[in-house]
Structure formats: structure tokens, C-alpha cells
């Protein structure tokens, strides 16, 4: 009888244990598109899941997809903060001013903004040195092209994209002095139809290796059909072009997200910081290399990746001139961070103009 009473006494405890449970921390993510895009947003969501995995029940993550870069972003972040989010990762450049506005209203909430340049006491930024990956795939592209024409589908003429083109060109030129770059700007990050059209145009102009700085896998599909090569963007895209896919630059946000959430939990998180990490920290990962790439080229490419990671190499090492022939980097000099972050010029050898 006594035992029965004990048992009954325990029941409410069990129920309470379940109801009373709350996570120590709530972390919100906002995405510009759907996580199913196999590109930019997909990788941020992989990063979010890494946070889930690392902290289990201690951290609750929530996310909102398809948030436009407008007043809507401000509303979504405000509502997240009102719902009790302690930390918000805003994963697209255009959220910059909305992040700062919301951060002002919620000084206790910690904000992390991807690829922006404005910070505050409770706003830090983070971005990846994708250009380091471009050096590796630029080398592969230079070695793999037979027509010596490399096509490049670019999104917007912002420093990040210009930096990628320059880095890829310098590496390709070093691997193959006869190489030529053709760049098409399509003024969107995600539009499979436009991306495919641009790739088809480049292929019809003789390009047999296509690089991309746009998010969808459409270019890989076109490359597969046309029998040319391409690279995965943000994620491994080999399932969309098993023969075309050479390798990929994979965005690895997981380690950074886990690190920052941990800092937020133990009180060491700081605002006003600007992280700009690359291959070394795992924010930029070189994907698996295709069997189509000869072994020696694979080795050279990995040596570049290792050299950049160890600091013995730099994507922008002089002598390098600007497109107009004026000197930029002296022999042995490497680019400073300020020039890289604001890069708005082509290096010598690239034809065409950056749209203004």
C-alpha cells in the first residue's frame, strides 16, 4: 500500500519534469531562400543542425526560410527576439541594416550577421574566405580546360564576387598561361533558369569549364548535358552532374556556429567582432575530387589548399597588376585585408568590365 502511495506521489513529478523543461538557450536563423536549395541556405541549415547536435536539449534552434532582404526581415527578427530567442544568425548580406535596427531594440539578444560589415555592441559579423577555395578550383580549371576558355557565371558585382573571379583567374593563369576568362553577370543569387541560360551562352562561346558564383545546381545540370566540366557551389553537387562535377567549394558554417553558441552560453561571446575565416578553420572546405582529374593535378590542387591553410601560400601574391596595367602587388607582397574586402577591380588579364 505504501509503495502505491509513493508511486502516485511520483507521477506529478514525472509530468512536471516533462512540462517544466525548457532549453537554456534559443537560437534563431533566418534564410534568404529555402534550405532545400542545395546551395547557400542548405549549408546554413547544415550549420544549424550541427548546433542541434552539439548541444542536444540545452539549445533550441528555430529558423525562418524565404525572408526577403527588406522591412520583412526586421519584422521576422523582432518577432524571433520577442519569442525569446537569445541569439540570431542572419545569413544574408541584405539583412545588414535590419539586423542593426533590431539589435538596437534588443540589447540583450546576440546577433551574428553573415557577410556584412556593420557591427554593434551586440552584433558581430562572419564571412568566409571563399576566394581561397577559388584558388584551388581555379588551378583545376586551368589544367582541365582543352579550349583554354573558362566560363564564369557571376551574381552581383560586389567585392566578394569580384574577389572570387580574380582569385580563380590568377590560379588558372598560373596553371595554364593560355587560359581566358569569360564572365557573365546575371544579377541574382538564385534563379535556375537565368543561371542555365548563362551557362549555355558560355558553352556556345567555347568554354569547356564553367565556374559559378550563384546558388542553384542548374549550371551543373547544363554542364552534364553539354559534356563540359563544372564545380559545385556551396555544396557538393555531384548528384546533378556525375560526369561534369570536378570538385566543390563547400561552405562549412557548423564549426563557427557551434563555437559562437558555446561562447554565448558561457558568457565569452563578444559583439563587434568580424570573423573572416577560410580553409584553415574549416569554414571553406574543398569537396571530393572527381576521378576525371589526373592524379598529379589532384595533388597540386591539394597542395595549394594545404599551403593556404598553413599560411605558406596566399591567393593574392605579387607581382599582380590591376586590369588597367597599374601595379597592385609587388613581387612577394600579399593583399591586405582592406583591399580584399572592398575589391572593385579586375586583375590584369581578365577582359571586360565590372558592371557599374
Amino acid at each position: 500500500m505504501r509503495n502505491l502511495f509513493k508511486l502516485i506521489a511520483i507521477i506529478p513529478l514525472l509530468v512536471f519534469a516533462n512540462i517544466g523543461y525548457t532549453a537554456d538557450m534559443k537560437v534563431g536563423f533566418i534564410y534568404i531562400g529555402p534550405p532545400g536549395d542545395h546551395g547557400w541556405n542548405y549549408q546554413h541549415d547544415v550549420g544549424r543542425k550541427a548546433v542541434d547536435k552539439a548541444f542536444g536539449d540545452k539549445v533550441e534552434t528555430v529558423f525562418q526560410e524565404n525572408v526577403p532582404e527588406s522591412a520583412d526581415a526586421e519584422r521576422v527578427m523582432t518577432q524571433m527576439a520577442l519569442s525569446g530567442a537569445d541569439m540570431i544568425f542572419a545569413t544574408s548580406f541584405g539583412y545588414m541594416d535590419p539586423v542593426l535596427n533590431v539589435a538596437k531594440k534588443f540589447p540583450k539578444v546576440k546577433f551574428e550577421h553573415a557577410t556584412g560589415y556593420k557591427t554593434a555592441d551586440n552584433v558581430s559579423t562572419y564571412s568566409a574566405r571563399f576566394y581561397e577555395g577559388r584558388s584551388v578550383i581555379g588551378h583545376v580549371a586551368g589544367k582541365m580546360t582543352k579550349s583554354n576558355k573558362i566560363g564564369y557565371v557571376a551574381s552581383f558585382p560586389i567585392p566578394e564576387v569580384v574577389r572570387g573571379i580574380n582569385s580563380a583567374y590568377l590560379a588558372a593563369k598560373k596553371a595554364n598561361p593560355n587560359v581566358e576568362f569569360k564572365v557573365i553577370w546575371i544579377f541574382t543569387w538564385y534563379d535556375p533558369a537565368k543561371e542555365a541560360d548563362a551557362a549555355k551562352t558560355l558553352i556556345s562561346q567555347g568554354a569547356d569549364v564553367i565556374m559559378q558564383h550563384v546558388d542553384s545546381s542548374a549550371i551543373m545540370t547544363v554542364a552534364e548535358e553539354a559534356g563540359v566540366y563544372a564545380f559545385g557551389q556551396a555544396s557538393d553537387m555531384s548528384e546533378f552532374g556525375p560526369n561534369a562535377h570536378l570538385t566543390a567549394i563547400i561552405n562549412g558554417w557548423g564549426p563557427y556556429y557551434v563555437k559562437r553558441v558555446k561562447q554565448a552560453m558561457n558568457g565569452t561571446w563578444k559583439g563587434g567582432e568580424q570573423t573572416f575565416d577560410g580553409i584553415k578553420s574549416g569554414m571553406v572546405v574543398i569537396g571530393d575530387m572527381s576521378d576525371k582529374i589526373p592524379d598529379d593535378v589532384k595533388k597540386e590542387a591539394m597542395a595549394i589548399a594545404d599551403g593556404i591553410a598553413s599560411g605558406s601560400m596566399h591567393s593574392f601574391t605579387g607581382p599582380v597588376n590591376k586590369q588597367d596595367g597599374s601595379p597592385w602587388l609587388k613581387a612577394g607582397e600579399t593583399a591586405d585585408i582592406g583591399t580584399l574586402l572592398g575589391m572593385n577591380f579586375y586583375v590584369e588579364g581578365i577582359e571586360g568590365d565590372i558592371p557599374k
Partner: protein, 358 residues
């Protein structure tokens, strides 16, 4: 079986019950959808319709937000409703919205950083002119060459988007913006900022004007001869011809009004909630406003209510996404259901269902 018979008498009962039924049906079918996605349907529907208005956590913030989200929809839809009544189809309000914002922002930023109380009023006029000019192109082509205004106004949206990209990357690009696209933030430029009218709510002049415009359009349509003429030309162009007025005049008036209102909606948005010209400045208000206009049955009061309901489903829909993990697509389907049921019940406002014996 059955057939549809036109109603001879207008039934106020049906026109009141129609929207009510359609909302109930949306809740039922939406609930089934949410349930099949593994989400508590009652919680989700409460979160869409109730929490933005009444919950302790969100309501204080989201009540004014609903008005802010509804304001451009209402402004644009009011302008469009004039033309739609007169069978003049401006589908390109999105482009006029963009051009209004660009005109206003360009004027303001060309004076940056000088301060004057006249800057914001002139920006409003520039916004009206920007949208008006963009709508005048299809108007003139229709009047002079009988070119279809639906196609021209729609195509000009894409032209406006290109000009928007040009502005963000070129002539309006923030010189202190480290080379990134996008203009200076007008909220950091006091003379050009569309300021909050009530502190902490975000309510701006555009919200107030959209509400005033509802009253103005009500008077215009039901108490003014222009409203009568617009309805007349829509119902019977031949009868209108007897009035001696040229139908071309109506084309110009309707497109000018709808373009001007779309332009000023864009101006209030760029100087207020959005703050800056960016490549993705437009988020589809000009197209959604077409739905709002028809949902509100081209009636100013109806448009006001439709705008509020649309805004509510946006704001509430967002809550369900990150609170309950509903995918964005499920919310879009839910909104689509609401529109579908509302418009299909409209059928019964104008028609009677009659069962026939074999």
C-alpha cells in the same frame, strides 16, 4: 442536376456569410494540411489569426506591424480598383512602386547631407511623379496606338527592376558602403526619413494616408461624378460615349491615379520601413495588391479589410514558421486556400444555385 442562375436581387445575407464561410473552410482544410505536416492544427490557426492581434508576447508589436504591412497594399489596390472598374487593366503597379521609390530616393540623396523641412514633402511629390510617369507610358501607347495596356504595364515591371539594379549598383550606391550594392539608409538622413508618428510602433505617414485614402476613394466612387463615369464606362462604353467625354481621358486618369498611388506607396516604403534602395527592394506589393483589390470587390472599405486580412496572414504566417516549424510553402498554400474560397464564394453573391429535377 443543378445550374447557376444569375441573382436578380442582391442578397446582403450572402455577401456577409460568404467571407465568413470561406474563412471557416480555410481553417478546416488548412488545419488538415497542418495536421498532416505533424503540427497541432488548432495551435497553428490560433497563431495565424489570433496571436498577432491578441497574444501577450507579440500583439503589442504586431498590431501596428499589420497596419504597416497593409498600408502599401491598400494604397496600391485603391488606385488599381478605379481602373479595374473601368476595364482599364494596370498590371504593372509593381514597376510604378519601384519607380516612385527611385524618384523619391534620388531626389533626397542628391541633396544629401543638407537638411530642410521641404525635402520630405518634395520626395512625396517625386514619388507620385515617378509612379505616374511609369504608368503614363502604357496610357499614352494605348491612347495613341491602341497598344494593350496589360502587356505594356506588366513588361515595364521588368524594366523598372533593371533600373532598380542600376540604381543600387550605380548612381545611388552608398559611397561609404565598401562597394556593396544599395543606397544610403534614408533613416539615417533626418530630412528624408519617413518618421514614426507614434513612438515605438513604426506607424508612419504612409499608414495614415492609406487610411485617409480609403475615405477619399469612398466619396469619389459613390458621391462624385468621376466615380459614376468610371462605373459607367466599365459597364457600358457605348452609354459612356453619349456623355461626350472621350474614353481616352478615362484611360489617362485611371492609369495616372493608380501609378501615382503605387509610386507614393514605394516612396513611403523606401523612406520608412525599408530605409534604402536595394536590388531586392520590391517584394511583390504591386502584384499582391491586385489580389487585394479583387478580394475587396473593388470597394474601398472592402479593400481596407482585404489588405488587413492579407497582412494578418503574412505576419501570423511568419510566427507559425519559426514557432511551430511549419515550412514557408505551407503558409503560402494556406493563403492560397483563403483566396480560393473567398473568390469562389463570390460566385454565390452573383449567382443562385438551383437544383433541377431530372
Amino acid at each position: 442536376m443543378f445550374k447557376l442562375e444569375p441573382r436578380v436581387e442582391f442578397s446582403p445575407m450572402i455577401s456577409f456569410l460568404g467571407p465568413l464561410f470561406s474563412i471557416v473552410l480555410t481553417m478546416i482544410f488548412g488545419g488538415i494540411l497542418f495536421f498532416s505536416l505533424g503540427v497541432d492544427p488548432v495551435a497553428a490557426i490560433k497563431m495565424i489569426f489570433w496571436d498577432p492581434l491578441m497574444s501577450e508576447t507579440f500583439a503589442e508589436y504586431s498590431r501596428p506591424q499589420i497596419l504597416i504591412k497593409a498600408a502599401p497594399l491598400i494604397l496600391i489596390a485603391l488606385g488599381l480598383s478605379l481602373g479595374f472598374k473601368a476595364n482599364i487593366w494596370n498590371i504593372g503597379a509593381e514597376g510604378q512602386y519601384i519607380m516612385g521609390a527611385i524618384f523619391g530616393a534620388t531626389f533626397a540623396l542628391s541633396l544629401y547631407p543638407s537638411e530642410s523641412v521641404f525635402i520630405f514633402p518634395v520626395m512625396i511629390i517625386a514619388g507620385i511623379i515617378g509612379g505616374g510617369i511609369w504608368a503614363m507610358i502604357p496610357a499614352m501607347l494605348k491612347v495613341k496606338f491602341k497598344v494593350n495596356e496589360i502587356l505594356v504595364s506588366l513588361m515595364l515591371v521588368y524594366v523598372a527592376e533593371q533600373i532598380l539594379a542600376l540604381a543600387s549598383l550605380g548612381f545611388l550606391r552608398n559611397p561609404d558602403g565598401a562597394g556593396f550594392p544599395g543606397s544610403r539608409n534614408l533613416n539615417d538622413y533626418p530630412s528624408a526619413s519617413n518618421l514614426e508618428l507614434i513612438n515605438g510602433t513604426g506607424i508612419h505617414l504612409g499608414v495614415l494616408i492609406s487610411l485617409l485614402m480609403v475615405i477619399f476613394f469612398y466619396i469619389l466612387l459613390f458621391r462624385h461624378s468621376l466615380g459614376f463615369k468610371i462605373k459607367l464606362i466599365g459597364h457600358s462604353p457605348k452609354a459612356y460615349a453619349f456623355s461626350g467625354d472621350s474614353p481616352n481621358k478615362m484611360v489617362v486618369i485611371c492609369l495616372l491615379v493608380s501609378g501615382g498611388l503605387a509610386g507614393v506607396a514605394g516612396l513611403f516604403e523606401v523612406a520608412g520601413p525599408a530605409g534604402q534602395i536595394t536590388i531586392d527592394f520590391n517584394v511583390g506589393y504591386g502584384f499582391t495588391a491586385i489580389i487585394v483589390a479583387f478580394l475587396g470587390r473593388l470597394n474601398p472599405i472592402g479593400i481596407f479589410l482585404a489588405g488587413i486580412i492579407m497582412a494578418l496572414t503574412y505576419v501570423g504566417g511568419e510566427l507559425t514558421q519559426f514557432m511551430l516549424n511549419l515550412p514557408a510553402a505551407a503558409i503560402q498554400v494556406f493563403q492560397g486556400m483563403l483566396l480560393f474560397f473567398l473568390l469562389s464564394f463570390d460566385l454565390f453573391v452573383n449567382y443562385k444555385l438551383k437544383f433541377l429535377k431530372d
